[in-house]
């Protein structure tokens, strides 16, 4: 056996500091190069490529000489980039929206009548909701459209999806479950533009004819299609949540002489509530952000339906506004589309954080027994 000293204070300490110095300068160099690359790229300079080459060289040498440290540094950079990207999205979408945010102020949410509470005008009125020639941009019709379509989609996807998940997870024989579950997951992959195409070519006319509607395209149809689209996702996620409820809980109820249905309703479903509500919130998030189906199906008119509850009328959603107008928008008009992006972004972010909170809270509440 070769007797390697476990450590030899003098030599090892000496070497360590050498290595440290080397790694330190590499890290500094790499970080500097990367930062310069980023700054130059943001400043829109093709010179960004020069520090980039520097960074690659430093990384290459680091990989060769100090693989473990380099790898760790690179993985750290990758991790930090998630924050950077979210930050960039936030900044750039906000900055582009800023001119219109400043111009419109609260009137971004203005109605054609002023909003007053006890005689105090909270939101002054707008002449018309969306006028590109006068540069008046109120998002109210779009927000309403998004709200209504999301509501309809959720009303379809949530109950039906949860019921189907119950069937898959708790009732269906294993063979059925094992074949249907992957099938449902695959169905979740149908691209939204395909639904859009179907909606535009077939469903639009079908509803128009059979419901004797006044217009082709309606919030109702968009909600219906988005609901259908979100169904497989809700089914699949809710099913996962249900199956993760420990069998011991079910056994406990069944062994008391309860029917499986009673067990499902009063034990399994409540225990899986966090996962199931996450599934629903996920579905809602998808519905809020769904673009293509709405863009293709809706006739685009940026006014509130008249009367308001007329879901068979055409309105605009936040997403379809962007997709239908980006093409001929410039200047303030384009900035106005970014305000729709801001509202979307913030809404979905809030939803996602809320979903996470709910999940954590429920997990904490139920966690003990699992």
């Amino acid at each position: 056996m070769t007797e390697l000293p476990l450590f030899d204070l003098e030599t090892r300490l000496g070497r360590l500091s050498d290595v440290d110095r080397d790694i330190g300068s590499l890290a500094a160099g790499g970080a500097g190069c990367l930062f310069a690359t980023f700054v130059l790229f943001v400043l829109n300079s093709t010179l960004a490529v020069i520090p980039l080459i520097g960074f690659l060289a430093v990384t290459g040498y680091g990989w060769y000489a100090h693989q473990a440290e380099t790898a760790r540094a690179l993985t750290f950079l990758a991790t930090a980039s998630t924050i950077l990207i979210l930050g960039l999205i936030t900044v750039y979408v906000f900055v582009e929206a800023l001119p219109v945010l400043q111009r419109m102020g609260v009137r971004l949410f203005g109605f054609t009548e002023p909003v007053e509470v006890f005689g105090v005008t909270l939101i002054p009125s707008v002449e018309s909701y969306w006028s590109t020639s006068q540069h008046v941009y109120s998002l109210i019709p779009m927000i309403w459209g998004t709200f209504v379509t999301t509501l309809i989609a959720t009303a379809i996807a949530a109950p039906l999806g949860i019921a189907a998940a119950l069937f898959l997870a708790e009732i269906a024989p294993p063979l059925v479950r094992e074949t249907v579950k992957p099938g449902v997951e695959i169905l979740a992959g149908i691209p939204s533009i395909v639904y859009g195409y179907l909606g535009f070519v077939v469903l639009n006319t079908f509803l128009y004819e059979n419901l004797e509607m006044a217009n082709l395209g309606s919030l109702f149809l968009v909600g219906l299609v988005i609901g259908l689209m979100a169904l497989p996702t809700v089914v699949s996620v809710a099913d996962d949540a249900l199956t993760s409820v420990p069998d011991a809980m079910r056994d406990g109820a069944v062994a008391m002489g309860l029917t499986e249905w009673q067990t499902m309703k009063s034990i399994t479903l409540p225990a899986a509530l966090s996962g199931v509500s996450a599934a629903v919130l996920l579905g809602i998030g998808r519905a809020v952000g769904e673009t293509m189906a709405a863009t293709v199906i809706l006739g685009h008119s940026q006014v509130l339906p008249d009367p308001l509850q007329d879901v068979f009328d055409n309105t605009e959603t936040l997403t379809s506004l962007i997709a239908s107008q980006y093409g001929n928008a410039n200047g303030l008009h384009m900035n106005a589309l970014f305000t729709a992006g801001v509202v979307l972004f913030v809404t979905v972010l809030v939803l996602s954080i809320a979903a996470r909170r709910i999940e954590l809270r429920m997990d904490r509440k139920l966690g003990g027994g699992q």
Binding site: P174, M256, G368
Partner: protein, 307 residues
């Protein structure tokens, strides 16, 4: 219950071992003792009786031709090395095995004379009358009160929902009574009576296990099956559960699986010993089985030669 505390398998007692050592050492005495223990006679009708029970999981045989009769109002312990089929046997008695896909059950099990594997059997009713407590405590993620009242409510014994209240049929008092009685029976009332509305998951393991027993009692079963109810618990909690089981036997028929031979010796009236391969090799009064096992293998098992 006889005093069996000196019968701990590890404690050197009388000369049993020496005596046994003198007996002829047939390597497999199982073949010639298959029915000796069915002679085990007790007064009255058996509460549960099992005849020629075979269970397979797919191609694995978990129980091999088990026949046994279990008397009323007593504690029957099932012991045996890991994997010998104790849990499987227990689950056959209230048909919880139906929930395991791979399990295939042959033979007859009768409960008060009725074959529980016949067509048209009301599973829900059976499980109401043959309750079960599991190895790991599994309270529902609800309040303590709701855990206990859950069964009676679902079975319609008490009606406390909004509709019942509206129609003036509120059984809240009766429910409270059931909750208190069950918790008292399970020796946990004192510890939880001031926090009945707290979540049951906040209780300690031993408390949770007693809660599960209370939950089972609230449904008012006739038989209580327990699968290693104390294996997840510390010694103090275990002692409480053991006391409780002895008390329960005054009113209920208790069947308990345990891997702890001292425990079996302490609390049971009769003991059945299973050995690997799913065979029942000995069944009789607990004293008898521990002090003077008929089979060499059982003796080896009890004295810790294997398992």
């Amino acid at each position: 219950m006889t005093d069996t505390s000196s019968l701990g398998a590890n404690a050197p007692t009388d000369t049993t071992v020496a005596e046994n050592a003198d007996r002829p050492q047939t390597t497999d005495r199982h073949e010639d003792t298959p029915d000796s223990w069915t002679d085990y006679a007790f007064e009255g009708e058996p509460k549960l009786s099992v005849d020629g029970l075979d269970v397979h999981y797919g191609s694995d045989q978990a129980l091999d031709d088990i026949s046994i009769e279990i008397p009323e109002q007593s504690v029957t312990a099932l012991i045996g090395p890991s994997g010998c089929g104790k849990s499987t046997f227990l689950r056959c008695l209230n048909r919880m095995n139906d929930r395991i896909r791979a399990a295939e059950v042959d033979g007859t099990v009768t409960f008060e004379g009725q074959d529980i594997y016949q067509d048209g059997l009301d599973l829900v009713e059976l499980r109401k009358r043959v309750g079960m407590v599991f190895q790991a405590p599994n309270p529902f993620p609800k309040s303590i009160r709701d855990n206990i009242a859950y069964g009676p409510r679902k079975h319609g014994t008490v009606q406390t929902d909004l509709l019942a209240k509206l129609t003036g049929r509120d059984d809240s008092d009766q429910e409270d009574e059931i909750v208190e009685r069950s918790l008292r029976q399970a020796a946990i009332w004192e510890e939880v009576n001031d926090r009945l509305d707290d979540n049951a998951l906040g209780l300690s393991g031993g408390q949770q296990q007693r809660l599960c027993i209370a939950r089972c009692l609230a449904v008012d079963p006739e038989v209580i099956l327990m699968d290693e109810p104390a294996s997840a618990l510390d010694p103090i909690a275990t002692a409480k559960i053991e006391d409780l089981i002895e008390e329960l036997a005054e009113e209920y028929t208790v069947v308990i699986v345990t891997h702890n031979m001292q425990q079996a010796a302490r609390i049971s009236d009769q003991t059945a010993v299973f050995l690997t391969g799913g065979r029942l090799v000995e069944y009789g009064e607990t004293d008898q089985v521990f002090e003077n096992p008929k089979s060499q293998r059982v003796e080896d098992y009890i004295t810790g030669k294997f398992g």
